[in-house]
């Protein structure tokens, strides 16, 4: 594949950002629920 370094970086970065955001959302929701349950 020509320009593989740009193409692969783009696709991997997109997957990492979107996957990371989904995991971050899950962690934030879990933490907020735990705090709410302790109140």
């Amino acid at each position: 594949m020509r320009y593989a370094e740009y193409v692969v970086t783009g696709w991997v970065l997109t997957g990492a950002v979107l996957g990371g955001y989904r995991l971050w959302l899950a962690a934030r929701t879990r933490r907020a629920r735990d705090l709410f349950a302790r109140r």
């Binding site: 740009y6 997109t14 109140r39």
Partner: protein, 249 residues
């Protein structure tokens, strides 16, 4: 309170994941490489859907903000939808900029150019980053929602400027292609299918992430309310005049 019932949300999550996997196969292997740009053009299958989804996310933010500001429809649900969608819009705009830069380097020879489309998109990114910062400034929920809604409507003015920048000014970035009737060459079948499939997969992802971010906004709201009630209860239970006694000589 959630935007989607739990079974629908779970099914949508798996369906979205499958669609994104299929998009990777289509975009990286099935679609042919471009005659001029070669494989660098494969970034189009992410860059274009990300840009369209950023527009959609900010449009939903503007609608949610307008519905909150209009007294007849005022409800916290619209503020939560607006805030959740703006966060997604910022992520998609950030991705659009980074993917565009990665695509621009091999094709234009530069990572960045002071081009109208690029600059207005960067402005859009920072406008909504400011909007998200504004939402974090402590205030009572109604005041915060109102000022955020006004900011969101002002920021939305940049969306049509970004979209039409390639027509209004001479830019390095190409003009609109997909709906441009003046262009004689048509996009190749598999390429067109992959591009539209990418838009569909990203739209599913947006709906899924919006429902999850909305869920978080509701929990955070409930938590804030519970903490406020607790603080009030603690203040009430303090002995009368205790603050005066501590300060007395």
């Amino acid at each position: 309170m959630t935007l989607l019932p739990r079974p629908v949300s779970v099914a949508l999550g798996w369906f979205t994941l499958a669609a994104l996997g299929a998009l990777a196969v289509l975009g990286l292997w099935v679609a042919p490489s471009d005659a001029v740009q070669s494989d660098a053009q494969r970034l189009m299958y992410l860059h274009v859907p990300a840009a369209w989804l950023a527009y959609l996310a900010f449009f939903v933010t503007a609608i949610g903000s307008a519905l909150y500001l209009w007294p007849r429809t005022r409800a916290m649900v619209w503020d939560h939808v607006a805030g959740a969608s703006a966060e997604l819009g910022v992520i998609f705009t950030g991705l659009t900029l980074v993917l565009g830069s990665l695509w621009g380097r091999p094709i234009w020879g530069v990572w960045w150019a002071w081009d109208a489309r690029l600059v207005t998109t960067a402005v859009l990114f920072f406008l909504y980053l400011g909007y998200l910062a504004l939402r974090r400034i402590p205030a009572d929920p109604d005041t915060r929602a109102k000022r955020s809604a006004i900011a969101a409507l002002i920021a939305f003015v940049d969306v049509p400027i970004v979209h039409f920048s390639v027509s209004w000014w001479r830019t390095l970035h190409q003009e609109g292609t997909v709906f441009n009737s003046e262009l004689s060459p048509e996009i190749e079948g598999t390429m067109a299918f992959t591009l539209w499939f990418g838009v569909l997969a990203f739209t599913l992802l947006y709906v899924y992430l919006l429902s999850k971010r909305y869920e978080l906004a509701v929990v955070e709201d409930e938590l804030e309310e519970a903490e406020l009630e607790l603080a009030i209860a603690e203040r009430i239970s303090e002995p009368v005049g205790s603050a005066v006694v501590r300060g007395a000589p």
